[in-house]
Point group: C2
Chain length 110, copies 2
Amino acid sequence: MTLHHPQAVQLELDAVLHALSDPQRLRIVQSLAEDPTPRRCGAFDLHVTKSTLTHHFRVLREAGLIHQLEEGTSRLNSLRRDDLDERFPGLLDAILAAASDHAPLSSAHG
Amino acid sequence: MTLHHPQAVQLELDAVLHALSDPQRLRIVQSLAEDPTPRRCGAFDLHVTKSTLTHHFRVLREAGLIHQLEEGTSRLNSLRRDDLDERFPGLLDAILAAASDHAPLSSAHG
DNA sequence: TCAGTAGTACGACGGGCATCGTACCACATG
DNA sequence: CATGTGGTACGATGCCCGTCGTACTACTGA
């Protein structure tokens, strides 16, 4: 079974903003923006249980923010930058800029 | 008693995104962006009751998105564009652009 | 085969939120 | 004083959401 991803044209602003209004999910997107390397759900330092993690990644995927590629027992997550930029030009950049000003990921664990 | 408005520096991204993730509130902000004239809470065509209206305007105010000036029995609402732009450059513009693409206010009642 | 890893599915819990109705206040106007 | 207008406060309701635990599947490797 393949995972459902909305098409770029179908992305809804409400869903995107809601997805990013949660600190944990904003963290994930921030991290993926800093380092675009696709990586596992568990590879994000989030301090929540696995089931909660699954939930957050699902919200992000269904909002169209990330792409999840099934790879063995893992799912490789990547940011849908191009689709986001195509649908909502400048939105992701503005949010990421605001987020990095707010609580920079690079110094979050320092 | 004066209404509490957060300072520009204190604006939190989570709160802003959450405030704008609600369709009704996004509508209000959209409307204020299209026509910056400060106006009453009741002057927005929202199809919700007065108490719900009060709630939404409070959320917007406490997130720092709007300013409410007490004027007699009314509150004049205006968009805090400058403060938003100062704190989160480009964010409001990007969201408004995305929103107008999504569901243009000017054609909402047409 | 046994153990470990990566993740899902389901159910539950608690809190928050959008919405409403009712009651109430402040001001203007007749 | 009575009425209308603009808005708040409070309580209730129903739903959604973030979080967790438990049980489960699928793959990997000793």
